[in-house]
């Protein structure tokens, strides 16, 4: 790391010590940096450019504050007017799709998962931005390329990912007879069973929870070697491996807290912080909330990677946030400049610090951000972008994979079997039929 980065680290450390709110890198300092950056940057924004940016609505308040600070500095330094609008996770995609369809309204969308791949031909080629950032900050993790590239071109810039990892209560795990969190699926099942016996149950969403349910059920499918499609996008869900993962998840489900079939993305957060739930899959947001509202729970909880099953390697799926620029924008240079500016160290470091672990980076250099080591309970979230696969699994990430995940094919397959609506064969058949329709 060069000297500039070191300096920044120090100011950061001070900031994060001051409070977990915003790393208070002075606003002037940021503006000075932004002005210098704007002069040196390879992208010269169009005169009087106005760009409309849609982003997902924040979960961690300080993250949003840091983001808006950065936007402010960018506006002042470049003269570009940036309109930021927020939408909830579920509404981002419909809005972006309408913009793509009508060719107006938005210039950039910061969305989730494979959003740019839903309409790759409407996305501006941002290969230059990706190369610039990759070269400057230690290179992209492999998942970043999978998320950002289509047919050799970058159609979106992966900004960050939010990890879905194991959240557990330390005391409950120890009482269940485990000194450390199990690393394999067999041990994990034992833990879940023991937790149920001790009346300190585990629970993970089997409802239509876009984040939580998709994340852990894809993990379960993949870790037993099951896949929706193979490398050539051929539907291969009907396999003994899929059946094995169904049986495994059924055993987990039978030992879960009741009601997980109706859970949405916030259900487990509420139950965990209320002290009714002792093990679940989630982002770091439970911990962040608990530190404020339930310190005794924050004290007693920790995070772990997802266990590894028969395939012998991590098969996690985390929620990525790529930012795309529409090719019909009137200010492509301004958009590119903004996308690059977001991930410059001077912006990105305070920003992910403010996010308190909720946002993990795709660029190798940011492994050094102190947020990951300041609190050892944050550390596992540092690696999620390194460990994540894409929603496509082995197949190609594109509109088909995006459609399959939006239609909850895998989630419903597991829920069908676990809730007893279908037997193993029936559940797989339904999923296979739906997948074949999408992947025709």
């Amino acid at each position: 790391m060069d000297k500039k980065f070191e300096m920044n680290r120090r100011s950061l450390l001070k900031g994060s010590a001051a409070a977990a709110t915003i790393a208070t890198v002075g606003a002037d300092q940021l503006l000075n940096y932004a002005t210098a950056w704007a002069q040196a940057a390879p992208w010269k924004p169009e005169k009087g450019a106005k760009i409309n940016v849609l982003r997902w609505r924040r979960f961690v308040e300080a993250e949003d504050a840091a983001f808006m600070k950065m936007v402010e500095a960018f506006q002042k330094a470049t003269g570009v007017t940036v309109n930021i609008s927020n939408e909830s996770f579920d509404d981002i995609q419909p809005k972006a799709s309408v913009a793509a369809n009508t060719g107006q309204g938005l210039d950039m969308v910061w969305g989730l998962y494979s959003l740019p791949h839903l309409f790759p031909e409407k996305c501006l080629d941002v290969t230059d931005v990706a190369n610039y950032l990759g070269k400057k900050y230690g290179g992209w993790f492999p998942a970043a390329e999978a998320y950002g590239k289509s047919k050799g071109k970058w159609i979106g810039i992966p900004v960050a990912t939010t990890g879905g990892l194991m959240n557990y209560r330390i005391s409950a795990m120890e009482k269940a007879g485990f000194k450390e969190f199990p690393k394999d699926t067999a041990g994990f099942l034992e833990l879940v069973k023991a937790l149920k016996k001790n009346n300190t149950p585990a629970g993970m969403a089997l409802g239509h929870a876009s984040g939580d349910a998709n994340t852990w059920l894809h993990w379960a499918l993949w870790t037993f070697g099951g896949n929706l499609v193979d490398k050539n996008d051929k539907v291969v869900i009907n396999s003994p491996e899929t059946a094995a993962s169904l049986e495994y998840v059924k055993q987990l489900y039978d030992n879960f807290i009741p009601g997980t079939a109706s859970w949405n993305d916030s259900s487990n957060n509420k139950a965990f912080v209320a002290g009714d739930l002792y093990l679940t899959l989630n982002g770091i947001s439970i911990y962040v909330t608990a530190k404020k509202s339930a310190p005794q729970i924050a004290e007693d909880m920790n995070h772990a990677y997802l266990p590894i099953g028969p395939v012998g390697k991590p098969t996690e799926l985390h929620l990525a946030f790529p930012i795309l620029t529409f090719n019909f924008t009137k200010a492509p240079q301004a958009c590119k400049a903004f996308a690059a500016f977001m991930q410059e160290a001077e912006n990105f470091n305070p920003w992910i610090s403010a996010a308190q672990g909720y946002l993990s980076h795709f660029l190798a250099a940011y492994d050094n951000n102190p947020i990951w080591t300041a609190d050892p309970k944050n550390t596992v979230y540092r690696d999620v972008a390194k460990r994540t696969l894409t929603p496509a699994g082995q197949g190609s990430l594109g509109e088909k994979a995006a459609a399959a995940i939006a239609d909850f094919i895998v989630v419903d397959m597991f829920a069908n079997y676990c809730t007893g609506r279908e037997d193993v064969k029936g559940a797989i058949k339904i999923a296979e039929r739906q997948a074949q329709r999408i992947y025709r």
Binding site: T260, A406, T419
Partner: protein, 317 residues
């Protein structure tokens, strides 16, 4: 032909031209006056409908125009168990909820029609569920039905009646029942207040006459109130059925069609497949499949309204 020659001559000789006749002719004038309304209706009602039906015959996806594929979407849906489940759910939801809404609404209307203290206040209180934005009431119900924090489960547990929380939204049948209950809660005021308005138009002299003739309370209802109320009932129930059939917000805010599609209505499934999953053609096909059901509901009340028997009771054709 002579007429053609005549008109040609007329315009040549300075008589009213075609344009001025179009401006002044009474029949044409009528068309001109209707045109704005017609354009409005075509642009905002008929055109989207036609476009939706057209989309259902294509394989259009979000942000990409589709190819005409004939009935392919419908053929696929015909064999799709989730689609048929959603049809079943929609019918169950509509029939059960509408029937109960009618019964409870009528009962409430009859109660409110009596003379009692604080009549005006009570009548406005009844409207509250209808006034609260749907999404808000849905979120309130979502908490009431929560798997862990349900107030109902909690109360029953405190009373020692149950050991474990009721799985309101996690079990298919419980979820259906819970949603139907929420819909009834929301829909009853509309039925009740509209029927009440109808009741108030019934002349008290009819009741007096019936009472003098020795009619019992039931007979007064059956032979005076009910026949006079039928037109209103037909209108109210048409609206009620339409609203229930196309309900979206309640379901979406509470279950998203889960658990395992047990509460997917055609409207929610159409949204999930058409917008979220990006398959506009298939989503449009599901939406189009709702039209026959809606038409049937409208027809029933339409022909009901035309029939004097319905309006004035039997034996009064």
């Amino acid at each position: 032909m002579s007429t053609v020659e005549e008109t040609a001559e007329v315009s040549r000789s300075g008589e009213p031209s075609l344009w001025s006749r179009l401006k002044t002719n009474r029949n044409w004038l009528a068309i001109w006056f209707m045109l704005p309304a017609a354009i409005f209706l075509i642009l905002f009602l008929a055109w989207p409908l036609i476009l939706g039906i057209w989309l259902s015959f294509t394989d259009a996806r979000l942000a990409r125009p589709g190819q005409f594929v004939g009935f392919e979407n419908y053929e696929w849906l015909w064999d799709d168990s989730i689609f048929w489940l959603s049809v079943f759910n929609t019918l169950l939801y509509t029939i059960v909820a509408s029937a109960i809404k009618f019964a409870v609404g009528l009962y409430l209307a009859l109660l409110l029609n009596r003379h009692m203290p604080f009549k005006a206040i009570i009548r406005s209180v009844v409207l509250i569920p209808f006034i609260v934005p749907t999404v808000l009431s849905a979120i309130a119900f979502w908490w009431i039905y929560d798997a862990q924090f349900s107030i109902i489960s909690w109360s029953l547990r405190q009373m020692g009646l149950i050991q474990e929380n009721i799985n309101f939204l996690g079990d298919g049948n419980w979820a259906r029942g819970s949603l139907i209950f929420a819909n009834i809660w929301r829909g009853v005021p509309f039925v009740a207040i509209t029927l009440l308005a109808g009741l108030q138009t019934v002349s008290p002299s009819l009741y007096e006459a019936a009472t003098l003739d020795g009619a019992s309370a039931w007979q007064r209802f059956r032979y005076v109130t009910y026949p006079l109320l039928t037109p209103i009932i037909a209108v109210v129930m048409t609206f009620s059925v339409l609203f229930t059939f196309t309900d979206f917000q309640l379901i979406w805010a509470m279950t998203r069609g889960g658990p395992v599609n047990a509460t997917h209505l055609m409207a929610t499934l159409s949204y999930q497949r058409g917008i979220l999953s990006g398959r506009l053609g298939e989503g449009a096909a599901i939406a189009t499949a709702m039209i026959p059901f809606l038409l049937a509901a409208i027809m029933i009340s339409w022909f009901g309204l035309q029939r004097r028997k319905w309006q004035h009771g039997e034996g009064n054709d």
